[in-house]
Point group: C2
Chain length 168, copies 2
């Protein structure tokens, strides 16, 4: 693992531009659903890993890595993971998204939720790098709050206040 390269890569990535992902063109709805389910599974897995660190032995490097993964996914524009045509369908399993998310009346609410997740993920990455466990715990709570808020509004059968197990 070449630290110098990682530093250059991360900084260059961040500095380059506005960094907003566009949805890829011409893909099948079920492929898009699969991709978003995979992304949310990765997020949940890394939320679980951070929780394991907070509940048990705290390994700063592990928390940093997980926070960076969550941050990088947050910056791929979560709102774009829900294009028109993916209201229903099967990726790895049937999508759990509510139709409400696709209601134009909720567009601002959905965008605000994605932006909030983004901002809290950025903050978690910063605080994880400092490494104070209590500060990470506090910020982690804010990040989870953004997950829960969106799940409560837009996910069917939302039981997700608790993160998924740290399955990696």
């Amino acid at each position: 693992m070449k630290l110098s390269k990682l530093v250059i890569g991360c900084c260059a990535f961040a500095l380059a531009h506005g960094v907003i992902a566009q949805p890829a063109a011409s893909t099948k709805p079920d492929d898009r659903i699969k991709a978003r389910q995979a992304a949310f599974t990765v997020i949940a897995s890394n939320v679980g890993k951070i929780k394991s660190n907070l509940d048990g032995e705290y390994k700063k490097e592990d928390v940093l890595v997980s926070a960076a993964i969550i941050q990088s996914l947050a910056h791929s524009d979560v709102a774009s993971w829900f294009p028109s045509g993916t209201e229903k369908g099967n990726g790895f399993h049937e999508t759990q998204v509510k139709a409400d998310l696709f209601d134009p009346a909720n567009a601002k609410k959905a965008r605000d939720a994605a932006n909030n997740f983004n901002e809290q993920a950025d903050q978690l990455a910063v605080i994880a790098a400092i490494g104070d466990k209590d500060a990470v715990q506090a910020q982690f709570g804010k990040l989870r709050g953004t997950c829960k808020g969106c799940h409560d509004s837009f996910r069917v059968d939302s039981t997700s206040a608790a993160p998924a197990p740290a399955a990696k």
Copy 2:
């Protein structure tokens, strides 16, 4: 999207320490398999997005975001995604890993493959930030070579020289 925070976060993440993830303790094998399938799906999705950019309209910001996601996952220590006990099992589907990967005689080969992926992902993130399409194309080929090499050695029914569709 707060660029300043992202810069601080990425740099702090990279600078902080050796940044090697440890596998989370006490998780079910099928959960671990699901997590690694999700992670590889996210990687494949973002490989596909980069390919779409190289084959069509090149959007530097999109490529940067995808390269950063691949890089962040590479830094979570891909070799650790295959702990003992996950030789067989079902995550989202039956695992495609070959038993060869768990043969101690192949441990160095597997570790080298993971490190190679890591290094090529780092390089891709650096080059993507510079933004020269031809240079990205060349480095992207090297990254895909590491995917193919590992799939050829360690994945059942490997047909994966081509990336998955950009399903996000």
